[in-house]
Symmetry: C2
Subunit: 226 residues, 2 copies
DNA sequence: CGCATCTTTGAGGAGTCTCAAGAGAGGTGG
DNA sequence: CCACCTCTCTTGAGACTCCTCAAAGATGCG
């Protein structure tokens, strides 16, 4: 891991991230004041569950996996964050202890914002508070979605769902590239890698063609009623 | 369902709820401006998933279950809310559509706050924004906990966990009364009622005694390493 | 006391995990 | 350019957990 200052292009990525994009430029700049950047190898740990921490992390490139550890060492993914997504907001507004482990799932660059500054700005600037509220509500909803999917859907259904969520509405057949390793996708969907593999096998019979990271869908209908 | 005005005791319950308790009295009063109260039978639906809605609900008494429906009609509980807890905050700060179904799990009384007013106050009063942020972060963490438990723990482990969460720290043996039907507990833990029953059977061998809604724990150690 | 509802128990089956081994892809060095 | 190595992914087999359906046993309420 190496620590650096923000470059111009880092700034550009940050300012175009959803959270910052909806803020007035001056507020966004104020938050970035004092931000640092660090690079990480795949499998590097960014922080550990229950560690005291007062940083919010923004992914600039790469992929960060957020997971909890079971007593037996098994891992349960809570979220997988890509470019422009924020991590650790909950902790900063609760007890300043990480709620999960964060690990780079591939070589990654992240920015660290000071939680103290964020709290201060949230208190002073209602635009910032508003943006944070929306962000956290959105995170909450995502987690709810995950929970509901886990409880309601089988493995192939979850995978079908995931694929459909990448499908532009209205198109009958389409294709896209998985944004990360199948390994990581399996974790995100709450499956063992083998289960994901088998799910793809099942979906093959419904017109899903998988070649490496490329996914091709022939018949959207068949997927939807899975 | 009957709709009423706020009584004095309703007000008292609201003001002592966690969210309101940390607000200055005047801010809390401002939010309660225009609130209404309604009573519901068990199994009454308060709102349906995807319904346009701009209310936040506070449970005054009884129990409200929040769940999503699968295509086959199966239900997945997202949360179970008791006296003083708030429902629907996410929706009010996102697209004003309910993210789940809400149903009274027993005869219940709830207050409805106007989402518009809440948004307005959050923008004007940083105390309100702060309190909302903490509330939503807390909800998010709860949901994460649920997700992680689902993925990491077996049925008996989840039940043991639940029991331990009701145990005052430091006590070796203790007992308490379930705050709701086993039916509802099963849903909250993501189990079929039969699975909960069997989990209790398993735990019986580790010193857990179940009589109706009363739970008694003889040996905390045994539970913890389950 | 009787009925409706909730809970427990049993049996069978669907779904997912684990372990183990084989196939494929991508990168490195000769 | 090919052989080799590593890492990822797939496939198979067996075990385990939890669900579903069915029926019997509690519990609570009128």
């Amino acid at each position: 891991m190496k620590t650096l200052r923000l470059t111009m292009s880092d700034r550009a990525i940050l300012l175009s991230a959803r959270f910052f994009a909806r803020l007035p430029r001056t507020a966004a700049e104020a938050i970035l004041e004092g931000a640092t950047v660090s690079t990480h190898e795949a499998h590097d740990t960014l922080f550990r569950q229950d560690d005291p921490t007062d940083d919010v992390i923004v992914v600039l490139s790469g992929l960060v996996r957020l997971f909890r550890l079971g007593k037996d060492g098994r891992e349960a993914d809570i979220a997988v964050s890509q470019k422009g997504e924020m991590i650790g907001v909950n902790a900063v507004f609760l007890d300043r202890r990480a709620t999960a482990n964060a690990q780079a799932a591939e070589p990654s660059i992240v920015a660290r914002l000071e939680g103290g500054k964020l709290r201060q700005l949230a208190a002073e600037d209602s635009d910032v508070a508003q943006a944070l509220l929306e962000l956290v509500c959105h995170h909450g909803k995502m987690t709810e979605d995950c929970l509901a999917e886990d409880r309601l859907l089988t493995a192939p259904q979850r995978v079908a769902n995931y694929i459909l969520s990448h499908c532009p509405i209205g198109s009958e057949s389409f294709s896209f590239r998985l944004p990360f390793q199948k390994n990581v996708l399996a974790g995100k969907l709450g499956l063992a890698p083998e289960a994901l593999s088998r799910a793809f096998s099942t979906l093959r019979r419904s017109g899903v063609i998988v070649k490496g990271r490329m996914i091709e869908i022939r018949d959207r209908q068949a997927l939807e009623q899975f």
